[in-house]
């Protein structure tokens, strides 16, 4: 398998639990584990450039010109909808004064199971708890209107607000769909510029909306389908396993990266990746496959090996029911 990896520090027995900051294997494991974690954003999203530019445009227009928009981002699980939004927002944040100009509210259908809870969460995220105080509102729309009015700057122009609704289809199951109705209503009337972005995995989410809600929705849909080719898939795998360029031990990272390249060229590993690709094109499946080899990196085992990846694949694809019946 090519070049020998030089371990910088003397070989300490793996029994010790103490943190050794300078040990490269240890740092490598740290970095790779973080890359495979659930909330880490990937560096680049392959195959989603068009969708990214569309969303970028939309949000930009709301922030700069005060135009109200609504859009639904639809795609299967693991296709990259949430990552797309986060990537677009992180790029926009590099603009001057962006965070001051555009307020953001992130809601999730799994967490806010009720419109009442959703309203409290909106109040909290817009940091208007003190303004609301102990007021009692007659209806949902009154409350929401009050919140948006409170955001008006001194010269009667209100700040644009971005609403991102994750698990949008769960919001459609609330009673009377009040939250959705009010949000889309405000986006159609000329009061406050808001941008409503809904993320969902159901293709038929439009059917779930009531007539009055559907008519206020702009019917703009962005489909995010996972259409990675096998080459793209291998590229994603390589990116997951590469060490970043600012790694402390430069030569070590170069050796490591070239080792990863060689590993991924091997026919056995290509075979495993192809089989995983045919099972599931998701990046999440790939992360699951790589967890086992990465976690087993240690002093005695400082590199990823073919057998490690093959074993991990075998473990993932065992049929649960057959295993239980032995």
């Amino acid at each position: 398998m090519g070049k020998k990896i030089k371990v910088k520090s003397p070989a300490k027995p793996s029994k010790e639990l103490k943190v050794i900051d300078d040990n490269p294997t240890f740092m490598v494991q740290n970095i790779l584990r973080t890359k495979l974690a659930q909330f880490t954003l990937p560096d680049d999203l392959t195959g989603l450039e068009k969708e990214k530019s569309k969303l970028y445009d939309l949000i930009n227009r709301t922030a700069s010109t005060g135009e109200s928009n609504s859009v639904l981002v639809i795609g299967p699980r693991g296709a990259g909808k949430s990552s797309l939004i986060r990537k677009v927002l992180s790029e926009l944040r590099q603009q001057k004064n962006f965070s001051k100009n555009l307020l953001q509210v992130h809601l999730n259908g799994l967490l806010q199971t009720d419109d009442r809870i959703a309203l409290k969460e909106i109040t909290r995220q817009l940091q208007l708890e003190n303004t609301v105080g102990d007021r009692v509102f007659g209806s949902f729309s009154e409350n929401l209107q009050f919140l948006l009015d409170a955001l008006k700057a001194g010269d009667q122009k209100s700040k644009p607000v971005l609403f991102v609704l994750d698990e949008f289809d769960l919001f459609a199951h609330h009673r009377n769909q009040t939250l959705l109705y009010n949000l889309f209503d405000i986006s159609q009337s000329a009061q406050t510029p808001i941008c409503v972005i809904g993320l969902t995995c159901r293709l038929d989410v439009i059917e779930l909306l009531e007539k009055r809600v559907k008519s206020r929705f702009s019917h703009r849909q962005i489909h995010v389908f996972n259409n990675l080719t096998f080459q793209d898939y291998c590229k994603v795998c390589r990116n997951l396993l590469y060490l970043p360029t600012d790694f402390k031990h430069e030569s070590y990272s170069q050796i490591w990266n070239s080792h990863i390249d060689e590993l991924l060229e091997e026919s056995v590993v290509q075979d495993v990746l192809k089989r995983q690709y045919h099972l599931n094109k998701d990046v999440r499946g790939l992360q699951n496959l790589l967890i086992d080899p990465v976690c087993k990196l240690s002093e005695l085992n400082p590199t990823l090996t073919t057998s490690g990846i093959v074993d991990s694949f075998k473990q993932i694809t065992t049929d649960c029911k057959a295993a239980v019946l032995h």
Partner: protein
């Protein structure tokens, strides 16, 4: 790691699984996969391994049993309270997932757990499927929702395929705990050895028990129970002085019939363990008959029919006799049956007394062929009374029309009627 070798004594035969879980956990401040799903049969050591590992690793963790925390509120409050180690005055109040995530983030901030992985272990995770629909998907994504270093471990006996529902959610990392092999079972059961006996001697005994039961039962809990139950019987000859520890043949011959009998009722617990032990003691002292619940009583042919007739007479109301035993079935207007629920079950009320001629009428109608009313039949009735299968009511002095009542249970009469190929249930009013 030196620590985990300590576990070898308390958690034997699980090295590979311990290694896997420790690799996943990594160092305290490393990111762990967001959700891990551990499954395996009962008594394979899943909860035991996970709990022991978390205890010795000194990481912040919460153990939750989903049978105990059956509602979402109990679940959230249990996790928050245990994570923040509050005393009783400052308990958390939380009944929705939104507040839970917020409070969870707050606790991690306060307690400075930001750099450590926090573990939440959900035992009996199959109960989560019956709770609110947003609980399971949220726990699978908890790293994403809280943006903290959390790991949720689901422990269950059911495979992951049965947990998928709705539109799906993140898949956890799946670990299987296989069953113990025969050698592993022997090793673990020999840890149970009572202190005043030799370990080798006890392992020989467990070997014997395993050889009898291994084909039928591999559940560690059941095997340990059986071993402990039968050990006293095994060492009885030693205690009585008839054999020594080395006379394995003699001890085997003593215990073998009991083990074979226990084989019939493994898992069933037809009698409680205390009763079983008592019966074993009695059996060795007297050479008496087997347990009553499974006895067959040998009766002459006509006595069986008399017994069945007596049971029917006791438990059927008089008016229904016509319906059951009329030889000629006319299309008469049938009296409307009361709804089954409203009829008081005669079986609940107990046997009713019946006169002799009713017994004989029923007897003649159920017996096949002609039976002459000889003194033999009548003396059989008296013998049934003397062995307490029938009871005589209304005193000895009534010679004209003696009244009897049937004293046996439904199971007994069913087994008797099975021996003569007679379907007694179709002749009982309560089963119509």
């Amino acid at each position: 790691m030196e620590d985990w070798r300590v576990l070898e004594d308390t958690v034997p035969c699980r090295e590979k699984e311990i290694e896997n879980i420790l690799a996943l956990m990594g160092q305290k401040d490393q990111m762990t996969p967001a959700s891990v799903f551990i499954y395996g049969h009962t008594a394979t050591g899943k909860s035991h391994v996970v709990n022991s590992l978390l205890k010795i690793s000194q990481v912040p963790y919460v153990l939750v049993n989903c049978v105990e925390c059956y509602s979402s509120r109990f679940l959230y409050e249990h996790i928050l309270n245990n994570l923040s180690h509050t005393n009783h005055t400052e308990q958390y109040r939380c009944d929705n997932m939104n507040d839970f995530i917020r409070s969870f983030q707050q606790i991690i901030e306060e307690k400075n757990y930001k750099d450590h992985t926090v573990y939440i272990v959900l035992d009996k995770a199959e109960r989560l499927r019956e709770m609110e629909a947003n609980i399971l998907p949220s726990f699978l994504r908890i790293q994403e929702l809280t943006q903290c270093n959390v790991c949720v471990m689901f422990i269950s006996e059911i495979v992951w395929d049965k947990f998928r529902s709705g539109t799906g959610s993140c898949e956890p990392y799946i670990l299987q705990f296989p069953d113990y092999s025969k050698d592993d079972l022997m090793k673990i059961m020999s840890l149970d050895c009572p202190t005043d006996y030799d370990v080798d001697f006890y392992s020989n005994f467990t070997n014997l028990v395993l050889s009898v039961f291994h084909l039928v039962c591999r559940d560690l809990k059941e095997l340990r129970h059986l071993t402990m139950l039968n050990f006293d019987k095994y060492i009885e000859p030693i205690q009585k002085g008839e054999a020594t520890m080395n006379d394995s043949r003699k001890l085997w011959r003593n215990i073998e019939p009991h083990l074979r009998k226990a084989l019939q009722t493994v898992y069933l617990r037809e009698v409680s363990s205390a009763q079983w032990e008592k019966l074993q003691m009695e059996m060795s002292s007297t050479e008496s008959t087997a347990m009553l619940s499974r006895s067959h009583v040998e009766l002459p042919f006509y006595s069986k029919y008399l017994l069945i007739a007596a049971y029917i007479a006791s438990y059927n109301p008089v008016k229904s006799d016509r319906r059951f035993f009329k030889k000629v079935s006319k299309m008469t207007r049938r009296a409307a049956l009361m709804k089954k629920k409203e009829r008081a079950s005669n079986h609940l009320l107990g046997p009713k007394p019946f006169p002799l001629d009713r017994l004989l009428a029923i007897f003649y109608s159920i017996v096949e062929g002609r039976v002459a009313p000889t003194a033999n039949i009548f003396s059989q009735i008296t013998s049934l009374v003397s062995i307490h299968l029938l009871g005589q009511t209304a005193g000895d002095d009534q010679i004209e029309m003696p009244k009897y009542k049937c004293l046996i249970s439904l199971d007994f009469i069913r087994s008797v009627s099975r021996t003569v190929n007679f379907d007694v249930l179709s002749h009982l009013y309560d089963f119509m």
